[in-house]
Amino acid sequence: MIQNTGTPLVELRDIHISFGGIKAVDGVSVDLYPGEVVGLLGHNGAGKSTLIKCLSGAYQADEGEIYIKGERATIRNPRDARDYNIETIYQTLALADNLDAASNLFLGRELTTRSGMLDDAGMEAETRKIMKRLNPNFQKFKVPVSALSGGQRQSVAIARAVYFNAQILIMDEPTAALGPQETQMVADLINELKKQGLGIFLIDHDVHAVKQLCDRASVMKNGLLVGTVKVDEVSEDDILAMIIMGKKPAHLAA
């Protein structure tokens, strides 16, 4: 168990986001330390994806502040987020289906030659390298990602997040579409990245997986934060109670 002392890697303070009068996120604060995995849990519509999208730059918070390594950060768009070394693996994977793996991996950050042209061969070589590490069986470098299996597509999306030396990784239900073997691969990867000192926000429905992979869990309900707990101090039932009833477990309620 890591010690959460010092400056957090990320701090979201009192975030408010509303859509047309509906409060999707209502004054939520969460934080994340280096080498830590924080699970974000809640029903569909609890506001966890919305909350995290203001960190990845897809939305902007109406109120509230984001601190990265103790400094106030302004994230207006996905490009800003990338500048802070924040990488996101979206639930939908956010791949351009008509492009190949290398084009997707480098999308928005293409390698170019000295003359300013795309360096496709260079990008393919880099893609081969990272895929060798993440998914050694991956061979389909020349075809559009629409021709890949769910697991292969997932590994492209993960490679994109990992390749650019992310310090903060957001994973939105990374195993939702995967089989047991592929789910295990993602779990191994999360543990490896954790060892490297990355901070990871993991959005997941599977309480069991969160218990296994995460250090802490923040539970949301109806846009409000129910509470943040250390997963070792609570049972799966406690977490379920937080998700369903919106109540913190009795032995932790101060």
Binding site: A94, A96, M117, A121, A125
Partner: protein, 468 residues
Amino acid sequence: MTDIKSNVPANQNEGSLAKRFLRGTEIDTRLLGMFAALLLIWIGFHIFPGLRTFVYALGGAVFMGEGTIGDAAALLNPATIWDGGVFLTPRNLWNLSVQTSSIGIMATGMVLVIITRNIDLSVGAIVGVTAMIMGLVQVEVLPQYLGIGHPLIWVITAIIGITLGAVIGAFHGWLIAYRGIPSFIVTLGGLLIWRGAAFLSASGRTISPVDSTFQLLGGGPYGAVGAMGSWIVGALACAAILWMLYTGRQSRKNYGFPLRPIWAEMFMAAVGCGLVLGAVLLVNAYPWPKGIIEQYAAANNIVVPEEGIFISHGFAIPVLIMLGVAIGMTLLMTRTRFGRYVFAIGGNPEAAALSGINVRWMTLRIFSLMGALAGLSGVVASARLNSATNALGMLDELYVIAAAVIGGTSLAGGVGTIYGAILGALVMQSLQTGMVLIGFDSAVQQIVVGGVLVFAVYLDNLYRSKAK
């Protein structure tokens, strides 16, 4: 994440000869299909007059008792039928190339628009309005300051026309991207507005003739680069093909990727250079007509000998403009970030935005580029006609969209090539020219072109579902 199949590297020597050939050369089978279709259309139009003569003679013999069936059958001689054709002649193919350029130039831009899941219905009207403004500028404005026939007139005029097209396109793009109006509506409005503006700009007058240098941009005997010029163009093109094949191989080698077999490289080089040199021979085989030669000889104090002088047309300037645009646009689409983002937006707009691509700004720039190409097309079309009329480019939008779609651009977005669009434009123009040559009237032409468009897209669907 295991995938047993992809673990086994594809065996280079596996499969039939045809499969090995296609894998070795990495030729797009769809491209082959388009070439085959084009050849079929060309040969069909070429032998049609001969076959028609035979059918008429046969009909006459059987039903009217005019001549014998034997006489009719004699007309079925392949040599007679071939010699009776006028389609596959240097003259017709040269004209075909010139007629294709205006639509071809715009089709390259329409590919980008359609790939990003938009449409531009206003290109024909932009041709009209830019041609009118250019007509006014070069005939009624610039000569006042520079004098008639000043060598700068055509440059200034062309720049004004292309810039005006770009500005109109950018305005459409702004309404689409930043004001959220669907591109269909914006450009449908643009079609009406700019056609009206073309009429108002000169109160419905036709402006003719245009500047004599400007006129060369539209082709014609003087608006072509001649035999020597065509050989130079051909030699440069061959050198470029060889250089591309060589550097492509080198870069694969540097990264240790699998190389194409050497016979495939040789074959590609031979086919590429063969096509280029064939085109040079073709355009050089079309001589200036007698009247032009006499005019030229009189102007240059040359005595025309009894047997006449053979002066080749060579590549027409508008065709070279189209080829230049096609090469530039191909580089833009395949070798630059801009092109990569166009494809990404077409494949998944949301993913493109999440990757930090400014989708709105891209949309504005794509429409602006389309407008600029429509302006360039306005230059070529009005120069070719030697006049600016407010009806110039009428219905061009439909031919341009048809060319892009026949060329394999998917209306669902994300898929399309520049060379496909040029070939599509060539197919459209071949149908038109061919039907004019064999004397179909315009009503029949419309029916055939419409039918071909629908059929081509159907064939494309079949091809794509099989390819998957």
